[in-house]
Assembly symmetry: C2
Amino acid sequence: MPEPLMLKLGGSVVTRKGSHGEINGENIAMICREIGGHRDVPLLIIHGAGSCGHPEAERYRLMDGLSQENLEGVSVTHRAVRRLNDALVSALREQAVEAVGLHPLHLCYAENGRIVAMEHRHIREMLSRSMVPVLHGDVVMDGVRGATIISGDQIVAFLGRALRFSRIGLATDVAGVLAGEAVIPVLTPETAMQVRIGSSLHTDVTGGMGGKITELLELARAGTCSEIFHATQIGAFLEGRPHGGTVVKGG
Amino acid sequence: MPEPLMLKLGGSVVTRKGSHGEINGENIAMICREIGGHRDVPLLIIHGAGSCGHPEAERYRLMDGLSQENLEGVSVTHRAVRRLNDALVSALREQAVEAVGLHPLHLCYAENGRIVAMEHRHIREMLSRSMVPVLHGDVVMDGVRGATIISGDQIVAFLGRALRFSRIGLATDVAGVLAGEAVIPVLTPETAMQVRIGSSLHTDVTGGMGGKITELLELARAGTCSEIFHATQIGAFLEGRPHGGTVVKGG
């Protein structure tokens, strides 16, 4: 069996920016067709919440922690992103991909905004049996703050390390990490200090491209490279062809 | 804050026996009104799958393990019981109970039909913040069989021990464990050998009353008592009043 790949779908790819809860059905259909055409590749998918969850997390101020006042924010935020996860899982299953949604709220425990525990043996078992687990950014319980928001990118970094993926791809709405108009082909901790982080710094409670790169550099330091490319290049990533994006390396 | 209680709702209480996926809305409404009237009691709820999940588990022969042939059984079975979980969580939220569904498929890892790992710190955090986690019998991934069916009663036993509940109640469609027509008031490993296990031995891939009692006796041996009573007695259980059912003790 080929080695499993991890694919992250940016929140700005699967939802419409600036909307309240609008799922980008065209992008999802395009992506699921692409994945359906590569069913021989064992795949773990993680998606961002985008406009399905971020507006709710902000409205309930979940970043400030949990109190009696914003308690229902956990459920409301989770259901917003679960709706997106359901849509993606259904679209994958329509392409005969044996996709199964897995919600971090059910699965993870965090302390001070960072995942400290996340079972992954069932994820490994799914991958070994041609099932495609689909996780996502989510609200999770936090032993210090009560609850916190965990970005899809933090889950990428955690599972990338725990399950030792050799190739991790992040599909975004830009061609890669940009310096001005140009894609930076290779990003290391050293070069990252020098470049201006590109065009994806729209409102995003989990940090947009900046937060993503912090997670990926940490993962790269621990030995796992990742690749950032435009969502139209998912097929190229799955086939191991050039995608014109950025490779994040440890140095 | 009062000590948290655990309440198991039998599959035959929340669904209609012998049906294919019929949720018992009247029972759920009655139960949720009762729980809504006791919102000061920290509560963990676990429900059986009943006719939402058992027919699917049998159809796909998930008890025999997983192969390429019955792979979609995981998703189909899970979605059947998730539908029931959603209905119960919604009905609880209508009663202003801050209920949150948690799916064992997302959370647990099993080996040879037994749960070997299940994060519970997030469940503890929820309980400490007046949230009501609602778990259920489910299909879960199994490192030996591929997948397996975990009964609500096995989850009761696992979490009863892990979270050290002092009172555990199981609401069923009978008044308790029966010897003939009479409720056995106290059941211990010794007396269990002698009694005929009562009227709940209808088709149930997880073992009906027999499987339940095996789990509860094991829990009792480890020091945690449990109480089996009719679903109409949930209020009595929550208030610590006599419910006319069976207490399962270690000896």
